[in-house]
Amino acid sequence: MIEAVGLTKRYGDKTAVYNLSFQVRPGAVTGFLGPNGSGKSTTMRMILGLDNPTAGHVTIGGHPYRKLPNAARQVGALLDAKAVHGGRAARNHLLSLAQLSGIPARRVDEVLGVVGLQDVARRRSKGFSLGMGQRLGIAAALLGDPQVLLFDEPVNGLDPEGIHWVRNLMKALAAEGRTVFVSSHLMSEMALTADHLIVIGRGQLLADMSVTEFISANSADFARVRTPDSEPQLREKLTSALTEAGGHVLPEQDGALRVTGLPLPRISDIAHGADVRLWELSPHQASLEEAYMRMTQGAVDYRSTADQKAGLQQPLPPGAQPPMPVPGQGQPGWYAPPPPQQGGQPFAAPQGAPGQAPAGPYGAPAAPGTVPGGQPANPYAAQQAPQHLPQAPAAAPQTPQPPAAAAPPATAPAPASAPVTDPTKPEDAR
């Protein structure tokens, strides 16, 4: 059991970790998630007594790490695969660690076998690939057969077989009743491995909950409804009917509607009542990755931007169209559905486009070709096509406000669910 209380670490005037409190329980794999530079490694170093917290404290089994008798037999850690002397053979590296904790030397050969490095045991670790180094680090963590295990990004550099192995290893270790604490910046990886999640951003706790809870709390289930393409008026009709019934309707890029706030049978009933035929009515759940992205959007320190090549490009020949940007590139917030509350943009939208927040979630602006030509009444199709024609996303601010009264961004708040899915508030503040 790892217990952190008010953990804070400052380096100069930069706060790496701020007031972090959490518990990591035995018998489960606990994922520790956060974007690059969010303080995951700093927190792990503080758990292991390598860094002294500026404030707060962290204990393992009730003791601070440096007060644990024979710490290596109680806690095993993989912090950094490169934290070895490259000139030393793998076996000697592990042997020196084993001797330090009074572990019999044959245990060294055992863990070398466990991680599959027995054939290179006598080779210097300088020549190891990233994956082999990672395996050596895992071997060092397993050496003391400890009750508590910490892994910092264990799957980095591993091949698919290795990733699969690490996943199963974590689960097996937890099933034996050990405490397993794994950091990662890959939500998809954690979805497959972890039972419980601790998410931090900019050094602060964003979420501390089980994986299933995390998904349901952060990614609202939604229904996708498709009306006949040939009759756009049905779409509008359904939209207003669903909105009246308290649903939250968002148009999707391909002409479908994304409905939240109404159960599937109710949507069907409403459609029936409005005399609208449906081509599709399907349940969906936003992925874990999507939920995580939305949660950490405001807390990402290093964000890529679109490569504008401003002033370096040849002027386009008349009539030519600029290439469409790749979805997601340089468009913060493209991946996540907007939080269903009104008022302000909860996450960074550096381009400051008024039309961006509603249009953003669906990623790339609709390519002109995909807009069905036979839908002049579709307010979204009519709008999006010109909006994105001129140039790269930077040109978006000129977008006019949606004229149609039924336009979802203006009229479709669902305040009821707002407090729950507000990604900007830390979990404990909700």
Partner: protein
């Protein structure tokens, strides 16, 4: 399925609902022993013998001490020079002076290379008693450096004495033997230990090695260029307390008659090393790894 009711926050996970229940625990079948300095010594011995830099620095050290010793011995023996009763052991000085650079390098590398590679985090995770690790490193390194220096110095000394009997060299007394082998070996090993502490303080191999070689050679070089009369005293002190002069005192041929004599150099380096070690220990306990 798609009942998009906002999930209620009071729905706590199961394990939170029952905090009183005993958590599963895991007990390793491998017996847990109480670790001591002995374990750390074994670990550091494995570390120091399993890297090539140890073999290289000590190999070059032995080569320098024996090579230069044999060379000077052969040159003096083939010449007509008369040592006029002086001990033949003093010829070993030149080899040991150059060789001490290797010992300094190895001393720095023993600690600083762990910082360079990041190994220190692995070590300090395996053994959070940082002082114990530093002590083990110091003891292992000191013993290795002392034994290697002692053997090299003794071999060269025996060779010189047997070779230069015909050149009027006096038969070294017991004290002269002791100072010329054990004394100077202790001095060089302590110099290496000082480097080890400096490496732990500076945590950067190249920086610490540069500093220590500067400490070895700079005072003598600086003193050579102090022509001004007003700096006479400073120049004298720099000469007398420079490391090469301190080493030559073990062979009773100091540059001056004042200044340290007898076993004084050993006490000087012992004091300086103790201070450096205390500083290294204090910083190690306080700083983030």
């Amino acid at each position: 399925m798609s009942t998009p009711q906002p999930p209620t926050q009071q729905a706590a996970p199961d394990w939170q609902a029952a905090p009183g229940s005993p958590y599963p625990t895991y007990t390793s079948p491998i017996p847990v022993v109480r670790t001591t300095l002995v374990h750390a010594l074994a670990s550091e011995w494995t570390k120091i013998r399993s890297v090539r830099s140890t073999m290289w620095t000590l190999g070059v050290f032995v080569l320098l001490v024996l090579g230069i010793g044999l060379l000077t011995g052969a040159v003096v023996a083939s010449s007509d020079s008369d040592l006029a009763g002086e001990s033949a052991l003093s010829l070993g000085f030149f080899g040991l002076l150059l060789g001490s650079i290797c010992v300094i390098t190895l001393g720095v590398l023993t600690t600083a290379s762990e910082y360079g590679t990041g190994m220190i985090r692995t070590t300090m995770t395996a053994c959070p008693s940082r002082g114990r690790v530093l002590a083990a490193k110091g003891i292992v390194f000191f013993l290795v450096a002392f034994v290697v220096t002692l053997v090299s110095a003794t071999v060269v000394g025996l060779f010189h004495v047997s070779l230069l009997e015909g050149n009027g060299a006096g038969d070294p007394t017991g004290t002269e033997w002791l100072k010329g082998t054990v004394g100077v070996s202790l001095y060089i090993a302590l110099l290496g230990l000082l480097s080890l502490a400096v490496g732990s303080i500076i945590r950067h191999s190249a920086g610490a090695i540069t500093l220590m070689i500067g400490l070895l050679l700079a005072p003598l070089v600086i003193a050579l260029f102090m022509f001004s009369e007003s700096l006479k005293d400073v120049q004298q002190a720099l000469f007398e307390y420079s490391i090469p002069n301190q080493m030559s005192i073990f062979y009773a041929n100091s540059l001056s008659d004042s200044g340290p004599s007898g076993w004084d150099p050993l006490w000087i380096v012992l004091g300086v090393t103790a201070v450096a070690f205390a500083a290294a220990y204090a910083l190690l306990e306080k700083r983030d790894v």
